[in-house]
């Protein structure tokens, strides 16, 4: 019982990490809370589902989903975020929420209000250890989650893009003066952030076997709690917070039952932690004024 809850919690945490990582990287650069990222998640899931249905290849579906979501993210950054960045934090936030709501409406109009099933077969076996069962989907989520975690750490610490990301998130003007193509860095991070969103959308769709217009709602608001908990603009903290929330949710439901809706737990944890540590669990980045 305990072990299977633990695995369940880690799988949930990995999924949350995947969802929250993009917005966390984007926040680090632009100080924008990118709620519209969750629209990329839904878009990726729909495109992935449609292409998988049409071609029968899940890999092709995932690639198409990533491409669609990345193009959407890049367009959003160019056409909406860039011109309003100097308007204080509130206007980009409202613009992002507005985009998210408009996109949900667009999904409803284009794909219809009814949920689609996503019965893709994952080519991995279901593992059993006594009473503990790990399904193929959970295995994929665990593998992808650990892979992304390792890759993020590696990319931020050891690659040129990671160096540029860190420099740009410290101080965009100075980074620009040092010859870093900050526009290119921002574009690359949006592509990565929305690609991650598409992957998590497809995994979410397969895991719950359903894709529907408002499937981004819960991820959208939960990822906010997670990136704040991890210290705003600190991707490694985000991953740690995602794991924490995934585990807390699973164990609260397991041992205390449904005393609270699962989706309020993240925010209660957030508010309690913030009152004790207003800077988040791990200190985030500070921008020099």
């Amino acid at each position: 019982m305990f072990l299977s809850s633990l695995i369940d919690g880690i799988a949930t945490g990995s999924l949350y990490a995947l969802i929250a990582l993009g917005p966390s990287l984007i926040y680090g650069l632009l100080r924008v809370l990118d709620i519209a990222n969750a629209a990329g998640l839904t878009l990726g899931a729909y495109v992935g589902l449609k292409v998988w249905r049409a071609t029968g290849s899940l890999l092709l579906g995932i690639c198409a989903g990533i491409a669609a979501s990345a193009i959407f993210g890049l367009g959003l950054q160019r056409l909406l975020y860039r011109p309003i960045l100097n308007r204080g934090p509130l206007i980009p936030l409202i613009a992002s929420i507005g985009t998210f709501i408009a996109m949900e409406e667009a999904f409803r109009l284009v794909f219809g209000p009814y949920p689609f099933a996503f019965p893709a077969r994952i080519p991995l076996p279901t593992l059993r250890f006594g009473y503990t069962v790990v399904t193929g989907v959970h295995l994929v989520i665990l593998i992808v989650g650990l892979l992304v975690l390792g890759l993020t750490w590696f990319a931020l610490r050891r690659t040129r893009l990671g160096l540029y990301w860190r420099a740009t998130s410290q101080d965009m003007d100075t980074a620009e003066a040092m010859g870093i193509n900050t526009r290119g860095v921002v574009a690359a991070i949006f592509v990565i952030g929305y690609a991650l969103a598409a992957v998590s959308g497809i995994l979410l769709g397969i895991n719950y076997n359903t894709v529907y217009p408002t499937m981004g709602d819960i991820p959208a608001y939960k990822m906010l709690a997670i990136i704040v908990l991890g210290g705003l603009g600190n991707p490694l903290g985000t991953i740690a917070a995602a794991m924490l929330i995934g585990l807390v949710e699973t164990f609260v439901v397991m041992y205390a039952g449904y005393v609270l809706p699962r989706d309020a737990i993240a925010f209660i944890v957030l508010i309690v932690v913030l009152l004790a540590r207003p800077q988040g669990l791990l200190p985030g980045l500070r921008r020099n004024k």
């Binding site: 704040v228 809706p261 309020a264």
Partner: protein, 300 residues
């Protein structure tokens, strides 16, 4: 006609919420995406007290005002510890926690909400839609009056000083902490007050009608109209409140149209419809300039 009055009551309620929200977001510059939680608190207390404890409507108004004010006081105290984006997200979270409280605490009637809230009366006269409109307009006049008074008073000037530079404000002796808390308290109290009208007007309250989306709608109105300005909040509530009705003929595309109009506005006119140097303000200024000139120089 009756339909127009109903739309009018809705717009007036939104206007109260937006003008009250302006006290926190516009004057003090603190993000607050939880206005509908305070509306809900007021509405729920009014609903519970009038259905279960048979309290008269007129008593529920001050109670809703007080309860929401206390909640606003708590949020204000929390806001002192948090900066900008942390506060913004905490207020977003507050919506979800509040909806959960409405759903799970037995006092608030659970997930189905509270139904058949009694119609308010004056003497033997039962409220009709026109009475709701009059009362909503009175509440709007009150909150606009308080806002205008604040703008002219020393307190209002202090709030603006806190918005523009907190440490500079503190250095000239403005009690930053207590003024911030005061703004949150007042703003929430007015939201709760209008909640006591909202509950019998709808005759039912459900947890999900006070969620995050409603808070976003209220803040959108304020930003759409022009942050920091009472006229902005009023104009925003009028335009965005009437839009869904105006687009009723394309009902399937209503929310999408709403979202797109909001985005275009934010993209091309981020200071809002009635903000300084906005297209509307410039137009009004240009139209009014001949009048002003003749007044300045006297008749030629």
């Amino acid at each position: 006609m009756s339909y127009l009055i109903v739309v009018g009551v809705t717009i007036a309620i939104y206007a109260v919420l937006a003008v009250a929200l302006n006290m926190v977001v516009g004057y003090v510059g603190q993000p607050n995406l939880a206005q509908s939680a305070f509306l809900g608190l007021g509405a729920y207390f009014a609903a519970v007290l009038s259905t279960r404890y048979h309290l008269g409507f007129w008593w529920t108004i001050p109670i809703a005002f007080g309860v929401a004010g206390i909640a606003g006081f708590v949020l204000g105290a929390i806001s002192l510890r948090l900066r900008e984006d942390f506060l913004a997200i905490t207020t977003i979270g507050l919506n979800f926690v509040m909806v959960a409280v409405f759903q799970y605490v037995p006092f608030f009637g659970g997930a189905v909400g509270i139904y058949s809230i009694p119609v308010p009366t004056i003497g033997a006269h039962h409220f009709g839609n026109l009475d709701y409109l009059i009362l909503a307009a009175l509440m709007l006049a009150l909150v606009v009056g308080v806002s205008k008074y604040l703008e002219r008073s020393w307190l209002g000037a202090s709030l603006w000083a806190i918005r523009d530079d907190e440490s500079a404000a503190a250095s000239v002796g403005i009690p930053v902490a207590s003024y911030k808390v005061a703004a949150f308290t007042l703003s929430a109290a007015f939201a709760g007050m209008v909640g006591s009208l909202y509950a019998p007007f709808l005759s039912a309250v459900t947890p999900t009608s006070f969620g995050f989306t409603e808070s976003v709608v209220i803040l959108s109105m304020l930003i759409f109209g022009g942050l920091g300005k009472v006229r902005g909040a009023l104009l925003g509530a009028l335009v965005l409140g009437a839009l869904p009705e105006a687009f009723r003929f394309i009902s399937n595309f209503r929310l999408l149209t709403y979202g797109v109009i909001l985005l275009l506005m934010l993209r091309f006119q981020p200071q809002g419809l009635a903000g300084d140097a906005s297209a509307v303000s410039r137009l009004v200024g240009r139209l009014a300039s001949p009048l002003r000139k003749s007044r300045d120089h006297g008749p030629a």
